[in-house]
Symmetry: C2
Subunit: 203 residues, 2 copies
C-alpha cells in the first residue's frame, strides 16, 4: 500500500520552517536545503512542492497574508454586531502590529519580502497586493463613521486610511527596534484615533 502523504500538512510544515528561518536569518539566508531540513523532509521532497526559491517565497507570502487576514477577521467577529467603525479599525490596526510572537514573525517575514520585492517586480506586485484592499476596507469604515458624524471635520476617508496604514508601519518598525515599547506605540495609535474620531454625532 503506498504511503499516504498529507500534502496540506506538508505544505504547512514547509511554510512554518520557512517562517522560522526567515524571521531569524532573513529570507536571503533561507535556502531550499535549509527549509527542507527545518521541515524534516528531504530536498527532493521539498522540490516536489516548490521547484525554485521564488515559488516557495510566493507561496509563503500568500500564506502570511492569508493568516493575517484570518486573524483580523476573527478579531472583528469577536467584537460582535454592535462594533463601531472605530472599534473595527482599532482591531485591524492592532492586528497588523508585532505585539506577540506570531505577529512579530509575520511582520519580519514581511520586511524580508519587502527587501526582495524592491528588486523583483513579480514579488513587488504581491507584496503590495494587499494594501489597496486594506485601504479600501479602512476607507469604507471611515465613510461609515463620517455618515454617523463621528469623523473629525475635513478628513478624507481615502487619505486617512492610507495615513493609518503608514503610521502603523512606522510604529511597528520602532517596536521591533526597541525605540518605543508596545504600550507606548499602542497609546500613540489610540491618540491618533482620538483625533480622527473627534466629530460630534448628529443630534
Amino acid at each position: 500500500m503506498p504511503k499516504q502523504v498529507d500534502h496540506e500538512a506538508r505544505r504547512q510544515a514547509i511554510a512554518e520552517a520557512l517562517f522560522r528561518i526567515a524571521s531569524t536569518k532573513g529570507l536571503e539566508g533561507a535556502s531550499l536545503r535549509d527549509v527542507a531540513a527545518g521541515a524534516d523532509i528531504s530536498l527532493g521532497q521539498l522540490q516536489h512542492y516548490f521547484r525554485t526559491k521564488d515559488e516557495m517565497l510566493l507561496f509563503a507570502l500568500q500564506r502570511i497574508n492569508g493568516l493575517a487576514d484570518q486573524r483580523i477577521r476573527e478579531r472583528i467577529e469577536a467584537l460582535g454586531g454592535t462594533a463601531t467603525p472605530r472599534d473595527i479599525l482599532r482591531e485591524c490596526l492592532r492586528g497588523m502590529m508585532p505585539l506577540d510572537d506570531k505577529s512579530r514573525t509575520g511582520y519580519l517575514v514581511g520586511v524580508a519580502y519587502f527587501m526582495r520585492a524592491v528588486h523583483d517586480e513579480a514579488l513587488r506586485g504581491l507584496a503590495q497586493e494587499g494594501i489597496p484592499q486594506l485601504r479600501a476596507f479602512f476607507a469604507d469604515q471611515l465613510s461609515r463613521a463620517r455618515a454617523d458624524g463621528e469623523l473629525a471635520e475635513g478628513r478624507d476617508p481615502e487619505d486617512e486610511a492610507m495615513r493609518l496604514i503608514c503610521l502603523v508601519e512606522g510604529l511597528s518598525t520602532y517596536i521591533v527596534l526597541d525605540v518605543h515599547t508596545k504600550r507606548q506605540a499602542l497609546r500613540m495609535l489610540d491618540r491618533h484615533l482620538d483625533e480622527l474620531f473627534s466629530g460630534r454625532p448628529p443630534g
Copy 2:
C-alpha cells in the same frame, strides 16, 4: 619610495561599494569579497580596514547616518535664518524619504540593517541610536512652534515628534513598494503638517 595610500578615499570607496551591493542584493548578499571587488581592491587590502563583516557594517551604518545628517543640515542652512519650525521639520522629513537615488539607497541600506539589527543587539543599538536625537530635535522645533502659538491645541511635542518619524517611515515604505507615488506621499506629509500647525499666532 612607498606608495601613498589615501586611506580616507579608500574607506569612501569601500563604503560606496557596500552601499551599491546592499541596495541591490541586501546586506546578507554583501560578502567582504564582493565588496572588495566592487571597490576595486583585493580582499587583503579590504581586511586592512575591516577584519569582519560586522566591522564593515558598523562603519557603513555610521557613514549613512552621517551623510543623512549632513544632507539635512545643508537643507536647513539653505532655508536661511528666517525659517519657521514648520519649514525646518518639512525639510528634515523630506530628507528622510526615498525621493532620489541617493536617499533611496540610504533608505534601503537602512532597511537591510534593520533586518540584521533585529537579531543582533550591538547593531540594534546603532540602528536605533539616531532616533532619540532626531526625536529630541523635532520636539524642540515643535516646542518653539507651540511657544509661537502655531501648534494645534492639545498636541504634545514629544509625541508629535515620534508620530512624524513613524509616519515618514511608513510613507517611505510605500513609495519603495510603488503603492503610492512620491507626489502622493509628499501631499500626505503636507496635510499632516497642516493639521499639526493649525494653531493661531497670538495677537
